[in-house]
Symmetry: C2
Subunit: 328 residues, 2 copies
């Protein structure tokens, strides 16, 4: 046997030995064995098996996940909104006159009618601009990110008494890793602001900022006389990433259809249908567990018929998950 042949055999043996434990391990250890887990594993096997009629090349293995209520808890309120309210209260302490006008007035008076009215009247641009735009308008990208990082580092959940690392769904993190290990590129498409979630997602989920997409505020690009280039937040919403806005943004950013999608509410309906009706798999993270998290069905009525018809698959958090949050 010459050196080259020996090398090939040795290298092959080496990879075989080091790969065996990985193959043997359960890739979704926090999922109970059952229909949901099996369906996910079967789907991934089907689209990644060379020669299979359902085989999809790596370049087209796109997965799109919602975030609030899909990857981390959204109750009692979006984590981001808890931060916005905090920030607005700080601003009112510095300048009490702010409380005389919206959006501060509603926060000061703890009466959110103004916001719910904007929502009911489909004035989404106004609603987002008031809540995500006004308090942070005029900050540079760096100033905003400094605020966001500080808030995220210090945040403790009012009910679960955990920081953000303890508020993600461990089974969903495993699902992200499982898909990535099978050649998927995983994106988040959140109705929340991508500029906020990008401060947390790389550490929480291992997803780089360019794989975190969502609602955006309009930034202005400025070059100053002293030779700096900067982005400055305006007060205006630029793009609302919810409902049909999700598939539209998927096309704008990626230009490909999702092969796998996950969401938890009506705002995800179109994204879930986009994947499901394009030969992909879509799952609805259904909040059924009032002991370990919060059971609720608000804004999910559009998903119920899609689950019944088999277009999308419901994940029952109570039945399907061994644990909800990561062990601490």
């Amino acid at each position: 046997m010459n050196m080259k042949n020996r090398l090939i055999i040795l290298t092959g043996f080496f990879f075989l030995v080091t790969s065996l434990p990985a193959l043997a391990a359960d890739p979704l250890p926090s999922w109970n064995d059952g229909i949901s887990k099996q369906a996910i594993i079967s789907f991934v096997a089907k689209v990644t098996k060379k020669g299979s009629p359902d085989f999809v090349p790596v370049a087209d293995r796109i997965a799109t996940f919602d975030n609030d209520g899909t990857l981390w808890t959204e109750k009692p309120l979006y984590i981001h909104f808890l931060g916005v309210i905090d920030y607005m209260k700080e601003q009112m302490e510095e300048n009490p006159k702010l409380a005389e006008r919206e959006p501060y007035k509603s926060v000061a008076g703890k009466d959110f009618t103004y916001f719910t009215e904007l929502y009911e009247n489909a004035s989404y641009e106004s609603l987002v601009s008031q809540l995500l735009g006004v308090p942070f308008g005029g900050l540079t990208k760096e100033q905003y990110e400094d605020w966001g990082r500080k808030f995220l580092a210090e945040f403790k959940h009012p009910k679960f008494k955990r920081g953000i690392k303890g508020l993600i769904y461990q089974p969903m993190l495993e699902l992200i890793n499982y898909l990535e290990a099978h050649g998927f590129t995983v994106y988040i498409f959140t109705a929340d602001e991508s500029a906020f979630l990008r401060l947390a997602a790389p550490e929480l989920y291992g997803l780089p900022t360019q794989q975190v997409q969502g609602t955006s505020m309009r930034n202005e690009f400025i070059t100053t006389k002293d030779g700096n280039a900067m982005l400055v937040r305006s007060y205006r919403m630029d793009y609302l990433d919810n409902w049909a806005g999700k598939p539209r943004l998927i096309e704008k950013v990626i230009g490909k259809k999702p092969l796998f999608a996950a969401g938890n509410s009506n705002g995800d309906q179109h994204m879930l249908e986009y994947a499901a009706l394009s030969g992909g798999m879509s799952v609805w993270v259904h909040h059924t567990d009032d002991k370990r998290e919060v059971a609720y069905d608000k804004h999910t009525d559009k998903l119920v018929p899609l689950t019944k018809s088999g277009e999308i698959m419901a994940i029952d958090m109570k039945k399907d998950w061994k644990i909800v949050f990561p062990a601490q």
Copy 2:
């Protein structure tokens, strides 16, 4: 020596032997030795050398390239526009009454005053909507892509008598590959429509669609009664990726600053300044070669002072490039 040690040595030897030719080869063979080539190599060495004060981690090595006039020829007219005019002529053959109204009237009469007026009046949304929206409005994503792929496959350049593969700048393709080999993620940010360029860029430059960003038309997302999900092109411009729109879109899509940027006209000014003023390197592809391509200086007046001050570096196509187009 036990088996494991022998394996390590053999494997190390194997990689050394196979890597040597790659290390020894000139990474930019179509570039003449000179200041431009050296500056690029020095910059990449500086930001990729561990321990260097200028070291940038792989995750932040973002490069952004313009396309028309930067990666492929844009004369006598954007390749895309030549296709749009072709398509509009086809439509007028089928329906001659179209020639009675804009934008067809201008194309039929070969008088582009209507378009130049829109441009001069800064009615960019109207201009883009008329040229890229109207002719293709109502087509599904798939129908549009079928048209685009067919056009690109059949296109022959009126002057250079080459198909699209022969119209890219070989030195710039080498630059893309060189940056990628050093951990950069390379994006295109074109003022043209990303939906069009995405049909060519994966094959031409090896860049997947999600790394091809640009101007976009508004798509509508529709689910049909027979169970299909589709995106349908509207007549409306959604986003104009030019001037300050480039850094704004870089932030929207990537969320990071570019470390390297390349462009060729005023529309790239803000993107070039964004990289240059953020500690990166920016280059201006200056069209100086009337023999091998076309020499022109239209819409470059904003770049001249930036080159003189040293903020950005001009690449002189005539002096700096051994060849312009790939050998055929």
